[in-house]
Structures are given as structure tokens and as C-alpha cells.
């Protein structure tokens, strides 16, 4: 007989086939779908988040777990009265104007998605206006900006100022990251948070939204 612990472990292992089988089996045994989601699937994903934060899981492993999770979720949601799982929050991300480095930003996006956030990725070399449009369109909880160059990090301030001028600064939390960024810089330009890496970015978003 399948257990919720086994299901959590299968998510942690990133074993999609196993997750699907165990989920089915649990559903067939009449286990409460809420429990399958919370004590099985999401419990496994929480463990993933913890290991990733402690540098004990690699990104591709997290992504595999996220895929396995999704497969399990789809099964439960399709077959039960559970509505869609609401995302933990909505995040708009982008690399600031003039900066082409986007792998760090991409990573943050993927990790946020894997951890249940809805992410809108605006890409690299994103002008302040584009951030403003996105805030108006997607009404995110958080705007995340990335920069790798000392000459583009200053555009983070430009963007924050532009958000303020457009009257939307107080509607979102602004977080920033990238090699030259420090907490001090974040404080100086009036960002709400700074993260030194992708794993901490997930934590930071959770904390900012009180989740």
C-alpha cells in the first residue's frame, strides 16, 4: 500500500512515473485529495526547497522534482473537486536595461515556478517602461530585477524611480540580485529585498509575502 511519505519521496527523487503511480494508488485507496497534495506532493517539494537552499540538490534535480510534482497535481486536480491550486504569488522578473546576462535571472524564474509561484519573465535588457507595463498588466506581488554589470546595476534605481513616478511602486515589492549587488546597494536604492543567489531568492519571496 502506497503511503504519503513514499509519494513525498518520489517527488524528492524527481521520479515522475513513480509519482503518477503513487498518486493514483493513493486516490484509489480513497485518501483525502487535500492530504495527497499537502502531505504528499507539496511535502516532497518543500523538502526539495530545503535541500536546494542548503546546496544539497542541483537545479536539474529540482526541475525534475517540479515536473513530477506537476504530474501528480494534475492527476489529483483533474479527478477531484479541488479547484486550481492558487499560486503562492506572482512575480515579474527581468534583467535591467543594457544588461544581457540572463542565466541568473532565468534560474530564479525557474526556481520560483518550481516552488509554486507564477512567473512572468520579461527577458534581458528590459527598459523601465516595460517593467511598468508588466506591473499594470500582471499585477504581480513582486518585481525582481537582475544585473551583472556595475554599469547597469544603476538602472535598478532608474526603474524603481520610474515605478514610483508611474504610481505603482507601492503596489509591489521590489527585489534585486546579481554579482555586483549588495544589501547596502538595495537599501540605498530603496529595494525591498536582495538575494545573493537563486535559492535565497525563493526564500526571500516567501518571506516578503509572508508565506
Amino acid at each position: 500500500m502506497a503511503t504519503l511519505e513514499e509519494l513525498a519521496q518520489a517527488v524528492l527523487d524527481g521520479d515522475e512515473t513513480q509519482v503518477v503511480e503513487l498518486t493514483k494508488s493513493l486516490m484509489d485507496s480513497g485518501v483525502d485529495p487535500q492530504d495527497i497534495i499537502n502531505k504528499g506532493l507539496l511535502a516532497g517539494m518543500d523538502k526539495v526547497g530545503e535541500l536546494f537552499k542548503n546546496n544539497e540538490m542541483f537545479v536539474p534535480e529540482v526541475l525534475m522534482s517540479a515536473d513530477a510534482l506537476k504530474a501528480g497535481m494534475n492527476l489529483v486536480l483533474k479527478d477531484s473537486k479541488q479547484g486550481q491550486v492558487t499560486p503562492k504569488g506572482t512575480v515579474v522578473i527581468g534583467t535591467v536595461e543594457g544588461d544581457l546576462h540572463d542565466i541568473g535571472k532565468n534560474l530564479v524564474g525557474m526556481m520560483l515556478e518550481s516552488n509554486g509561484f507564477k512567473v512572468h519573465d520579461l527577458g534581458a535588457d528590459v527598459k523601465a517602461e516595460k517593467f511598468i507595463e508588466a506591473v499594470k498588466e500582471y499585477q504581480p506581488d513582486i518585481v525582481g530585477m537582475s544585473a551583472l554589470l556595475t554599469t547597469t546595476m544603476v538602472n535598478m534605481k532608474t526603474t524603481i524611480d520610474a515605478l514610483a513616478a508611474a504610481g505603482v511602486r507601492d503596489k509591489v515589492k521590489v527585489i534585486i540580485g546579481g554579482a555586483p549587488i549588495t544589501q547596502k546597494f538595495a537599501d540605498e536604492i530603496g529595494a525591498d529585498g536582495y538575494s545573493p543567489d537563486a535559492a535565497s531568492a525563493v526564500e526571500l519571496c516567501r518571506r516578503l509575502l509572508g508565506k
Binding site: 536539474p60 542565466i103 534560474l107 556595475t150 544603476v154 555586483p180 537563486a198
Partner: protein
């Protein structure tokens, strides 16, 4: 249009382990002012960048002032410490590449000061001019035409005409796909990105750069896979991907970076992606390397071993911020000069001692990290020897990855290299993925197509056509 290599390498330039050592390259490069790189002396190569600031019309004069201040500090300290010669690298930023007149002005400021110090104090120095590969600014990028490419080439041309000695770039062909492949640890896509896309783009781009070098009398230096293998390295250092994956990626870029030399570049190769030792082994060119004295720019597990066969020794890049002692570029200059003094002193006692020094540098790091391990001079030669048997760049890339895996596995078995237990399975995953790659490039492309996100890059910019 096909960009045919002007040279091919079917045997090693470095004939034996005893000839594989820092300061000495089979094909040294002589600069206009008589410095010989790879001719027996390791030179410091100082690279610097701006502190946090915006670059636009309103700040450009401050930008110039920053570069003037940096070069003054650098040559002054180099003179005070009796540097045997100096390579100054300017990695232009996107803004100063897109406006070639800005990049030119910066290079001019640097060169004028360097010439002043050569005249006044006899300090020999040469400038490596490295424009930014701004083709990436447009997504998906146009690789073979358009304003961005033109700006890059115009920057090269203008700076070379004024006397920039060495032309280099960190070109980004294949990066659109390689980034994604890295994060997913998908070695098949890595091999395609490097062995097909990156190689094709290198051949295109370097045919242009070599032309410019010929027209202007500049030296076509080389092109490190910074956006590729160095990204892998940074991700591994942060614990995002396995170090074994980064190590394999690093070896897999060899055919891509070799393409510059196949198209006529002659070195000194650029640092950053640490593929230089392979370039030296195969093409015999002198190489720039970076290690512990680049810790200001990034931490690494290759602080000493990187120096084993270097010809210039670099700090990667440092911001113009003030430390307790002096501005950071001056601090880097000092550290690099002391590092090369030691290397050159050992070599002055005879080749035997240079080899001893090399082996200590290698031994001190090789066992702790697979990325360091694949830089061990004997392993570089062992892998390179197999690679030159393969003339097709795509197959060479596949082979490079495969050989790297085998070597690391063997190293683990022999107890020569430490690999975190949870990384070991990735060697097997990579190996079995590689086995599914066909030997035919077109076939591989056909197979992969469906799984690729073609909104991110343009196959036609790499001479590829999409089926159906």
C-alpha cells in the same frame, strides 16, 4: 556561405609533457614593441572595469576619466615594481561597443598613457582590445548581419588602426541554447550548442576579425568561451549544477575555441573559460590564464593549477573601487606582478625547475575538484592527443565530452580526484546521453529540432535550415 578553416591541427603542437610549461609556447607571438609572449617570460595581464555607474552621453566624460585614472595607476605601479612587460586588457562594455567612437576613445586614452610610460620609463606594455559581443542585444540575435555585428567589427577596426595590439572577444554563438542546456544538465544540447552552433559562429566571426587584424597590423588573439564554459563554472561554484558537469562542459568547448586559431588567430588566447591549456597543446599558441589573483572577480577551485602553462597571468577583471591600500586595479597589478616574478624566477633556474613549479601548481589543486583535474598538464595532453585525431568539430566536441567523463571516472577510481558522492551519477547520466548522439551532424540537428525553443535563436544565423 561556408567559412573554411585556413589551418587545421592534426597533431599536437606541444610534443611532450616536458615542453608543456608556463611562459613558453611552441608559437610565440611578437608584438610591435618587441615583447614576445610565450617566448620564455610570463607577463601580468591586468583587466579592469568601471565602478557602479551609468554610461550615457551625460556620463561619458566621467567614464573616460575613470579609465584614465585606472591606466595611470596600473602603469605607475607596474613601473614601480619593475614589471618585465605588461598586457593591459580592456573588455569594452555593451554601451562602449555599440558606440564605436566611445570604445575608441577609451582605447586611445589607455594606449596614449601606455606609450608615455614606455617612452619615459621603458615600461613595455601592449593592449588587448576586447569589444563586447553585442549581437546578443537583439533577441533572438542576428549573428551574421545587422547593426550590432557592424558596431562590434567597427570597434575592432577603429581601435586596431589606432594601435590596439591584440584583438579578442568573448563571442556568444550558441549561448542561446547552451544556457538552457546547462541549467537542465542536458549534455546532448550542450554538445549541439558547442560543437555545431558555437563552432559555426566562431568560424564566421573570426574570419572577419582575422581580416581586420591583417589590414591593421594587429594581432588576432583568441576567443574564450566565457559565456559558455565560464557560466558552467559559475553555476557549479554556486552549487547549482554538478562540478563534473562543468568540468565536462569546459573540455567540450575546446573545439569551439580552437576555431579561432583554425581561422588564423595566433594568440595570446584569452582567459576566463580556462580552455587555454588545450589551445596551447593543440595550436601551440601562447595563452592568458587567470587563477587565485582573479579571486576579486570570482572564487574558484583552480587558483594555482591555472598557472601551469600560462603565458600571461590575469586578474580576470576588477572594478575601480578603492581598497584600504589603493584602487583595486592597482592592487591586482601588484599581485599579478609578484605571481609572475615567482614563476619567472623558477624558470630562470632552468627548465627542470619550471617543470617542478608547474607540477606543484598542478598538484596543489588537481585532487580537489574535477574542474581543476581536467587542467592537469598530463591530462590536457592526453585528451588533446585524442582530439586532434578527429577533424570534424562536431565529432571532436562529442569526443571531448566523452573523454572528459572517462578521465574523471578514472581519476576517481585511482583516488586522484575528489568528487562529491552525489555528483558521481551525473557522470553516468552524461555518458549514456552522449551514446545516443548520432555521428552525423545533420541527423543530430534533425533529431533535436523538435525539442528546441526556436523563439530563442535563429537557426539560419548558423547556416542551419529547419526541416518541414
Amino acid at each position: 556561405m561556408d567559412y573554411k578553416p585556413v589551418r587545421t591541427f592534426n597533431e599536437l603542437a606541444v610534443k611532450s609533457l616536458d615542453e608543456f610549461v608556463y611562459g613558453v609556447a611552441p608559437n610565440p607571438v611578437k608584438t610591435k614593441n618587441g615583447m614576445v609572449i610565450g617566448g620564455g617570460t610570463v607577463y601580468p595581464e591586468v583587466n579592469m572595469t568601471l565602478p557602479p555607474m551609468k554610461i550615457d552621453e551625460s556620463t561619458i566624460s566621467e567614464v573616460y576619466k575613470q579609465y584614465a585614472e585606472m591606466i595611470e595607476g596600473i602603469v605607475k605601479r607596474a613601473k614601480e615594481l619593475y614589471a618585465p612587460g605588461l598586457v593591459v586588457e580592456v573588455e569594452l562594455l555593451p554601451e562602449t561597443t555599440m558606440k564605436p567612437e566611445w570604445g575608441f576613445e577609451i582605447i586611445k586614452i589607455m594606449l596614449d598613457k601606455m606609450r608615455e610610460y614606455e617612452e619615459k620609463y621603458g615600461l613595455k606594455s601592449v593592449l588587448r582590445c576586447t569589444p563586447n559581443d553585442v549581437r546578443e542585444m537583439i533577441r533572438p540575435p542576428y549573428m551574421r548581419s545587422g547593426e550590432m555585428l557592424e558596431s562590434t567589427l567597427e570597434t575592432f577596426e577603429k581601435c586596431a588602426e589606432y594601435g590596439a595590439d591584440i584583438l579578442s572577444i568573448e563571442s556568444t554563438g550558441g549561448k542561446e541554447l547552451h544556457d538552457e542546456a546547462l541549467i537542465n544538465c542536458d549534455i546532448k544540447k550542450v554538445i549541439f550548442a558547442l560543437g555545431v552552433l558555437a563552432v559555426r559562429d566562431m568560424r564566421f566571426l573570426w574570419s572577419k576579425i582575422v581580416d581586420i587584424a591583417k589590414r591593421t597590423g594587429a594581432i588576432a588573439g583568441g576567443d574564450t568561451a566565457c559565456g559558455l564554459a565560464n557560466t558552467a563554472f559559475a553555476l557549479a561554484e554556486q552549487g547549482m549544477i554538478p562540478k563534473v558537469f562543468a568540468a565536462v562542459d569546459r573540455v567540450a568547448v575546446v573545439p569551439r575555441s580552437l576555431a579561432a586559431f583554425e581561422m588564423g588567430a595566433i594568440g595570446p588566447d584569452k582567459d576566463c573559460a580556462y580552455e587555454g591549456p588545450y589551445m596551447k597543446a593543440i595550436a601551440g599558441v601562447p595563452i592568458a590564464m587567470e587563477g587565485k589573483s582573479a579571486a576579486c572577480a570570482h572564487l574558484s577551485s583552480m587558483g594555482n593549477i591555472a598557472a601551469c602553462v600560462c603565458d600571461t597571468w590575469s586578474n580576470e577583471s576588477v572594478q575601480n573601487v578603492r581598497l584600504l591600500s589603493a584602487p583595486a586595479p592597482v592592487v591586482s597589478t601588484e599581485q599579478l606582478i609578484y605571481d609572475v616574478r615567482l614563476l619567472n624566477e623558477a624558470a630562470a633556474d632552468g627548465r627542470e625547475y619550471a617543470l617542478k613549479m608547474r607540477d606543484w601548481l598542478a598538484r596543489s589543486d588537481a585532487k580537489y575538484d574535477p574542474q581543476a583535474y581536467v587542467l592537469r598538464p598530463d591530462i590536457v595532453l592526453e585528451i588533446s592527443k585524442e582530439l586532434v585525431k578527429e577533424q570534424d568539430a562536431f565529432l571532436m566536441t562529442k569526443k571531448a565530452a566523452s573523454l572528459a567523463i572517462d578521465v574523471i571516472k578514472r581519476g576517481i577510481e585511482k583516488g586522484e580526484v575528489m568528487v562529491n558522492p552525489r555528483e558521481k551519477k551525473w557522470l553516468d547520466i552524461m555518458k549514456s546521453q552522449i551514446e545516443t548522439i548520432p555521428d552525423d551532424e545533420e541527423k543530430f540537428w534533425y533529431e533535436l529540432q523538435k525539442g528546441l525553443d526556436l523563439t530563442k535563436w535563429r537557426p539560419e544565423e548558423y547556416g542551419l535550415t529547419v526541416s518541414k
